[in-house]
Symmetry: none
Subunit: 191 residues, 4 copies
C-alpha cells in the first residue's frame, strides 16, 4: 500500500491493497494457506483494518470475485441467435482458466472456499453462469427452436459446469474436446 492516508473515512487505498493481496496470495498459495495475517502483511495494513470491513476470508474472496480480480471468466453470454457459437464465447474463457495449471489450482481454492462459506458458493455459481446466465441463454434457444422444448433449461448449465468443476477437483481437468462432445450431447437441436 502506498499513499498512506488516515482519517475518519474509509481508505480506498487500504481496501484496494487488501483485495489485491488476497487475490495474489490465493493464487500463489491456495486457500488453506491463505491467512489473515499474511494478507495484512502483504498489503502493508493492520489486521484490524481487515476485520473492520470483512468478517472472514470468505468475504474477502467474494469481494475479489465480484471485482474480477481472480479469474478472467466471461459472466455475460451473448445472444446472437446461434446457441453453439454463443456458448463457445463463454466456453473459451472457461477453458482458458481450467487448462492453465494455475487457473485450475485457483478454481480448486475457490471450491474449497465455497465448501466452507456459502456466500463464496453463491458468488462462484454466479461467476460460472450457473445462476442465471446459462439458463437464460438456453431458454432463449428453446424459443428459437435451437433446443428441444422439453430440455431442462435450468439444469443444463448445472450439468456443464459440474462436468468442468468436478474433474478439476481430482486434478484431471476435462479437455476441450471432451467438453465439446458433452455439449454435442446435451445441447441437441430440437427434434
Amino acid at each position: 500500500m502506498s499513499e498512506h492516508r488516515n482519517g475518519p473515512v474509509r481508505s480506498a487505498a487500504a481496501r484496494d491493497a487488501i483485495l489485491d493481496a488476497t487475490a495474489r496470495l490465493l493464487a500463489k498459495q491456495g486457500y488453506d494457506n491463505l491467512t489473515m495475517e499474511g494478507i495484512a502483511k502483504e498489503a502493508g495494513v493492520g489486521k484490524q483494518t481487515i476485520y473492520r470491513w470483512w468478517p472472514s476470508r470468505g468475504a474477502l474472496i467474494t469481494d475479489c470475485m465480484s471485482e474480477g480480480r481472480l479469474m478472467p471468466i466471461e459472466i455475460e453470454i451473448p445472444d446472437t441467435g446461434h446457441l453453439r457459437a454463443d456458448l463457445n464465447v463463454w466456453l473459451e474463457s472457461v477453458i482458458a482458466v481450467v487448462s492453465d495449471p494455475g487457473g485450475a489450482a485457483l478454481l480448486r481454492s475457490l471450491v474449497a472456499a465455497a465448501a466452507e462459506d456459502g456466500a463464496v458458493g453463491d458468488r462462484l455459481a454466479e461467476m460460472l453462469g450457473m445462476d442465471q446466465a446459462l439458463s437464460l441463454r438456453f431458454a432463449s434457444a428453446v424459443r428459437m427452436d435451437q433446443l428441444s422444448e422439453d430440455a431442462p433449461v435450468d439444469l443444463l448449465g448445472l450439468a456443464i459446469v459440474g462436468a468442468i468443476i468436478v474433474p478439476v477437483l481430482a486434478r484431471r481437468p476435462i479437455s476441450p474436446d471432451e467438453l465439446r462432445r458433452l455439449l454435442d450431447h446435451l445441447v441437441r437441436p430440437a427434434g
Copy 2:
C-alpha cells in the same frame, strides 16, 4: 479406544479408533474444524500414533471413505438390462445423502478435502461412480440400444455427479425431481 495393546506391530484397535473418530468428527464439525489433536483426543490415542501411519487429514479421510465409514452410497451399479431402473438404485442412495442436511454438509466437507488433497478427490470420484461405474453402465446401455450410440458414455456420469455436487456447494441441493428431469434429458433412448 479400549484394550490398550502395545507392541512392535500395528495396533488394530488404535487404527479403528482413529478412523472412527475421524468419521465422527468430520460429520459433526466439518472439514476445517477437523483437527489432528481433536481426533487423537476423541480416539483416546497419542498424536504420534496418528502421524506414524497417516501423513495428513486427507489420508485419514481417504481411508475412511475406502472403508465406507462416511457415507452409505452404493458404489456398484446393477445391470439388469433396464438403464433407468438400475440408475435409480444408485440415485436413491445418492439422493438420500444429499437430501439429509447432515449428509449434504458431509459432502461439502469431502469436497473441501478434495480441493486441497488430490487423493481425496480421486477417492471421492470413485465413490460417486465417476471413475468407472457409471461409464461402464452407460456403455452397456449403448450396446443394448437403450442409449444413443454417439452418447459420450465417459462424460455423462461426470455431468450427473457434477449437477449433484455443485448445488450442494451453494447450500441448495438439487431436488430429486430436478434430478429426474435432468436424467430424462441426458439419458435418452437411442433416437
Copy 3:
C-alpha cells in the same frame, strides 16, 4: 493474571504473572519439571507471550532472581568495621535458605539451571555475593588489619560459597556450626 490489558505495548500484568508463576513452580516442582507450558497455564497467559519476551527457562529464572522473587538472600554486606559481625548478617540469610528443605531444593534447582545456562550462573554468583560483595568486604577488612595482608580477598568468597553450595548438591547441607568453624579458619585476623 487479571486486568487483561492488550495493546501494542508490553503488558506489565502479563510480565508479572509470568515471573510469579515461574518462581512458584520452580520452588514447587524443581527445575527439570519446570515447563514453559506449565508456566503459561499457571500464569493464565499464552505461550507466545512468554516466548515473545524470554528466549528460555533460564532467562525467566534470571529475571526472577534479579527481582528477588526467589530467595531472601542479602546481596549487600554491611561494613561496620567488624568483619565477623558483618559476615554474620549475610550468613544468617544464607543459612536460613540452606537450612530450609524447600530453600535447599530451590538452590539445587538454581544450580541445575546455572549448569545449562551461563547467564543463570552469573546471576547466581552475583546473588551469593561471589561477584563483588564478599571480595569488597574482605578487601576493606584487610585495610583495617582484620585480615592478613596476603589473604586472597578475591577468592575467599568463592571458597565460602562453594563450601555452602556443594554439600547442598549432595543433600547434606553444611550446618551453621561447621560453617562457623570454616570461617574461623578462613577469616583469621592478621598476624
Copy 4:
C-alpha cells in the same frame, strides 16, 4: 554394540555399550540433551534393556563415574609426608579437567545431574575427594604438624572443591594461579 548375544543372563556387551554411549553422549551434548532414546540408538540397544537395569539417567551416570568412564581425576591422594606436594598430584588432574573446555562442560553436566539426582551428587563428591580422601590427607597433615591443630580438616576439602566447581558453573573456571593462592591461604602450616 556388536556380537549380539542373547540369552537368560545379563549381556556384558550390552552393559558396556550402554555405559559407553552414555559417557560419549554426555560429553558431546551435555546433560539436558542426553536422552534415553539417544543412548539406546547410540548403543544399538533396545530401550527396555536400559530400563531393565537402570532406573534413570542419573543411575547411568553414576555407573559411568564409578568406572572412570568420564573424567581422569585422581581419587586417591598420596601421602608422602609433604602436604603441598601431595595435594599438587591431585590438583593437577583436577586442573587438567577444568582447564579443558570439554572437561569444564562435562563437569557442568555432572553438576546438573547431581542437582536433580542425589546419588550423582554423592558419587561426584566422592570422585572429587570431598567425601574422604581430602579430609584424611589433611588429618594426616595435622598429625605431622604441617597444618594447624585447629584446622577444620573435614571442611577444607569442601572449600577447595567448592572454589573449583562454582566458577565452572558461571563459565569462568578458576585459574591454576588463583587456585594456588587459595591453597596458600587455606593450607597454612601450623602456626
